[in-house]
């Protein structure tokens, strides 16, 4: 017998950029134009550190001076974190200014904004190698350590993930913290995953009880409270790094008010998945009201959709991976000189070309000079087509950086309705890109501001109807890779000129539908008409 296979190295341009989805003759989505403006925007921050900072490197995007423009906090690792106030004008060039905020703290790996005490001023949770810190917002972008005031036990771990929710009836949030390896185990750190923590409200409802260990814990790099089954009670999805756990897997915790957390298992339909879990992105890609999940990893990434959606009743947490079918495995560089496998970190679904379909950004970067993986590993920008497949446009769009990326955020920094991009790089400057496209579709941006606790409606769903399609976004705090956002929730509208929108609040209350005008900002408050919002002209 002769050997039946023939092997050869590919002509890189021909094979390595080809995905199954691309192999078919399909329409190319509108490719947005991004221009890197790091120098001009005056952003100068490097995520530094050695082994204990090989993961992490996050960014938080939030408005802390109440002007509607998102400001930026960048983790610095062993260097002090940096805060930048947004000085951009609407539609103008991205401009930031370093600002003494009280956040200039060392050993920060990532951060998530959340209004913990419901005072209308955003607070910030700092994930650290060491004690985590909740920074209370004082207004005008000043912050103070509130660990003592809010009885928050920051512990002493290598923290690497965050998620928050208001459990039913609670006036105070429940915060989940994911922790990584025992950093004091130099010789055999494998299998030394330290406990994740669940910080629930204390009896007073104005502070945190001692944290509850989420045992077993498997070296978590991303967490997300998400209402995966639309039951109205979000569960905690946890993505874990198989490099370090023993007997571990991806996890889904049932978190019910007043009850001990309980893991979903095979009896519930949960199927074992073991990956180098590094980031979670979530979006209802199929307009079926259920969120789909993108999980980053080394080599292949996963896109999970529910296997079965019953006509009646709740689905089981059984997912199938459609990353290959939809062209988002993103397992190797698609441009540049490298063909070694990729390493993916932060992921985020947003509509970057305003065509009404969520696109996918993935931050890529080698862990630490691992020779079997791409060293120059370009970030991905995968544009969704109408058939649900994705088109790689990172190089054409201008965001294919070859630096060692970690965290990131897509956000509209100059409030022109087009999403810009900021990315944190390990051992290199963070980068910021302005979306300078001139041919994108219409858009809509909504923020929630209800009185009392959970002011920004974490756990709510925003629905936008256009041309017979209902687009849905879950309002969450968590996910990605140590990078969080608060503020505007963006929808691309394509050529839609009118439609309607509503909010389903976290307690299940369905607000009434209201008409919207495209290319507008709205502030949504419970039982009130959504208020159009405009940035102050020339305020800057």
């Amino acid at each position: 017998m002769t050997r039946p296979f023939a092997f050869s190295f590919c002509a890189l341009a021909a094979f390595c950029s080809m995905s199954p989805a691309l192999a078919q003759n399909q329409q190319t989505p509108t490719i947005p134009t991004f221009v890197e403006v790091t120098d001009a925007a005056d952003i100068d921050s490097v995520f530094e550190g050695e082994w204990e900072y090989m993961v992490g490197g996050g960014v938080a995007v939030f408005d802390c001076d109440d002007d509607g423009f998102p400001d930026i906090f960048l983790a610095g690792g062993t260097a002090p974190a940096r805060f930048y106030r947004n000085k951009s004008a609407q539609g103008g060039n991205l401009t930031f200014s370093p600002h003494e905020s009280g956040l200039e703290i060392e050993a920060v790996s990532g951060a998530y904004p959340i209004d913990i005490d419901g005072d209308g001023i955003v607070d910030l949770v700092l994930l650290r190698v060491g004690e985590n810190i909740v920074m209370r917002g004082l207004g005008n972008c000043r912050f103070e350590n509130a660990n003592s005031q809010w009885a928050f036990d920051g512990g002493d771990a290598w923290s690497s993930a965050f998620a928050a929710i208001w459990e039913h009836g609670a006036d105070w949030p429940t915060i989940a913290i994911g922790n990584y390896i025992d950093r004091n185990e130099p010789m055999f750190p494998w299998g030394s995953c330290t406990d994740n923590w669940l910080h629930r409200p204390d009896e007073t409802g104005s502070g945190f009880a001692p944290p509850l260990a989420l045992t077993p814990s498997y070296c978590t790099l991303s967490m997300l409270f998400t209402d995966w089954d639309r039951s109205g009670t979000p569960s905690l999805r946890v993505s874990n790094d198989r490099e370090y756990y023993r007997g571990g897997q991806e996890q889904l915790w049932r978190i019910e008010a007043g009850q001990a957390p309980r893991l979903y298992d095979e009896n519930d339909g949960w199927q074992q998945l073991r990956i180098w879990g590094m980031g979670i992105a979530s979006y209802d890609l199929d307009f079926n009201s259920y969120p789909d999940y993108f999980l980053t990893s080394m080599t292949d990434n996963r896109l999970q959709v529910l296997t079965e959606i019953p006509e009646n009743g709740l689905p089981w947490p059984t997912y199938r991976d459609v990353a290959y079918a939809r062209g988002v495995t993103a397992h190797r560089p698609y441009t540049g000189d490298e063909v070694r496998p990729s390493t993916a970190w932060h992921a985020q679904f947003e509509d970057v070309n305003n065509d009404g379909l969520a696109d996918l950004f993935i931050a890529k970067g080698n862990v630490w000079e691992m020779p079997d993986f791409a060293i120059e590993d370009p970030n991905n920008l995968l544009l969704q087509r109408e058939d649900g497949s994705f088109f790689e446009a990172g190089d054409h769009a201008g965001v294919a950086s070859f630096l060692t990326a970690r965290g990131g955020a897509l956000a509209d920094f100059n409030l022109n309705g087009q999403l810009d991009l900021v990315v944190v790089n390990r051992h290199d400057r963070a980068q910021i890109w302005q979306n300078t496209s001139t041919d994108l579709g219409n858009w809509l941006q909504i923020r929630l501001a209800q009185p009392g606790p959970n002011r920004n409606g974490i756990g709510a769903w925003i629905e936008v109807e256009r041309n017979g399609v209902t687009m849905r976004r879950e309002v969450f705090a968590g996910g990605g890779h140590v990078s969080g956002q608060a503020g505007w929730w963006h929808f691309g509208l394509g050529d839609t000129q009118s439609g309607r929108m509503r909010v389903i609040w976290p307690d299940g209350y369905e607000d009434s539908w209201q008409d919207f005008s495209p290319n507008s900002f709205y502030t949504y408050s419970r039982d009130s008409a959504a208020a159009p919002w405009l940035p102050e002209p020339l305020k800057k």
């Binding site: 039946p4 092997f7 082994w51 023993r246 290959y324 397992h331």
Partner: protein, 476 residues
């Protein structure tokens, strides 16, 4: 007290070695005695020595260097972790490193004793490693540490940052232990010698065809076979749309002549017709999974040995060897002999098995069953991304059983604790062949191999193991 205990252990080893050299070496009863009663003798001796040492001038115990056996075991433990956590380490790649590191340790020790015979001239293209200067003074622990440090750093130079950090920590800790009671000259001479042996083995390794592993072992491009029985990808993992290491069967073997030396019988003729021999093979897999019993599923998962989630299948057998050498208080010469032999047999197994896999290019059960029996059927285990026939697990387990039986003797009962920390429990076996047969059938329970691949694999393993067992390591 630790030193006293080591001294006592040395007496026991001396006695064992003497006995093994003569009549008891292959006697299972002797092995059982070593495993249990010897601990009692060691304890008794320790008590006697404590009494003696109390009346000795200080310093006598301090002259004893570090225990080379500790060095050997610690580095092997580290290697098992590195195999698990280095992404290029698929099972064939792991087996190769086990073999070269085993030979490295063996040659480093063998050159210092008249008991052991070099493998040079016995293993394909291995020339005689550097020999010791008869006028120099060496320390066995320092030699082993230098040789293994050098070897491990090379074979795992591509591991991630945590592996690098762990190697540094181990090197530093053992170096401190080894150098504590040595004069500078002895330490330097020993380190230089250990490194020279490792360098010799490394140079030999570079020409075997397996030194360069790109893209985690998956070809960048792949043209599938055109026959209905041809293997096709079984997952939607982008990286695995081409099969793993298709040329591995062409690598230079260690103890057997080449990858074609131990052929397997041809598999049944492919046939999609219900009732055909091939269909029946597939139906057995299908039914085994559909009606699987809890213990059968436990067996499937216990021997799953997935890369990156375990020390891989060859690492499983190395872990068993490490555990048993510890439990039986094996002496150093026994240990290096077994690590070398086991590594060689595992490496040759994968070369031989891969040679046949890509010769027959057979599709996996999940492909056939989805096409002809049940389109929705899924196996219990993750189907490995390469052709089916024969079963690599079976080949390497057969070879390992042959080597371990030759070392510990027939009827050697043991409990396998490899996966205890992973929550998979401990499984017990009345001998190595029962373990190997269970490892082999686990692939049918898991839904990833036909029975014929399992039986052929075990046969191939016996053949491979015989070549390893024919190596001469003990001077007669």
């Amino acid at each position: 007290m630790g030193g006293v205990f080591r001294l006592a252990s040395s007496f026991v080893r001396l006695f064992k070695r003497s006995a093994q050299k003569h009549t008891l070496r292959r006697n299972p009863a002797w092995n059982r005695l070593c495993g249990s009663h010897m601990r009692q003798y060691r304890d008794l001796l320790a008590a006697m020595i404590v009494a003696t040492v109390l009346f000795q001038p200080m310093g006598a115990a301090a002259q004893a260097g570090a225990n080379p056996q500790d060095v050997l075991f610690n580095w092997n433990r580290m290697v098992l972790e590195l195999v698990r956590h280095t992404p290029t380490y698929s099972p064939p790649v792991a087996s190769r490193s086990f073999a070269y590191l085993g030979v490295t340790a063996y040659e480093a020790v063998a050159s210092g004793t008249d008991e052991l015979k070099s493998l040079a001239g016995q293993l394909n293209e291995l020339s005689l490693p550097p020999q010791r200067d008869p006028n120099a003074h060496y320390d066995e622990a320092a030699i082993l540490h230098a040789a293994l440090t050098h070897g491990v750093r090379n074979f795992f130079g591509n591991t991630g940052p945590t592996g690098q950090r762990a190697m540094n920590a181990m090197e530093s800790q053992i170096e401190t232990m080894v150098s504590a009671s040595l004069d500078e000259q002895t330490l330097a001479t020993s380190i230089a010698y250990g490194e020279a042996v490792a360098a010799h083995i490394l140079e030999w390794s570079l020409t075997d065809g397996g030194a360069l592993v790109e893209n985690l072992g998956f070809p960048y491009e792949f043209e599938p076979g055109s026959s209905p029985q041809s293997w096709v990808p079984t997952s939607t993992i982008g990286l695995q749309q081409a099969p793993l290491l298709p040329n591995w069967g062409d690598n230079r073997t260690f103890a057997m002549p080449n990858g074609a030396t131990c052929p397997v019988v041809e598999p049944p003729v492919y046939d999609a017709q219900a009732g055909s021999e091939f269909y029946t093979e597939a139906m057995e897999v299908y039914e085994a999974v559909q009606a699987i019993e809890p213990d059968e599923e436990a067996i499937a998962r216990f021997w799953s040995d997935d890369p990156m989630l375990s020390p891989t299948p060859p690492g499983h057998w190395i872990a068993i060897a490490l555990q048993l050498l510890r439990e039986t208080d094996a002496e150093l010469h026994d240990s290096v002999d077994l690590f070398a032999r086991l590594g060689i047999s595992l490496a040759d197994s994968f070369i031989g098995c891969w040679h046949e896999k890509y010769l027959y290019d057979l599709l996996r059960p999940v492909t056939y069953i989805n096409l002809h029996i049940d389109p929705d059927w899924r196996p219990i285990l993750i189907t490995p991304p390469f052709p089916e026939y024969p079963s690599g697990h079976s080949t390497q387990s057969g070879a390992a059983a042959a080597v371990l039986e030759a070392h510990f003797g027939p009827g050697f009962a043991f409990s396998d604790k490899t996966h205890e920390r992973d929550g998979l429990g401990v499984r017990s076996y009345q001998d190595f062949w029962h373990a190997a047969e269970e490892a082999a059938i686990s692939r049918l329970y898991g839904g990833i191999h036909y029975r014929v691949a399992i039986e052929s694999g075990l046969d191939q393993g016996r053949c491979v193991g015989a070549f390893t067992n024919a190596l001469v390591t003990w001077e007669r």
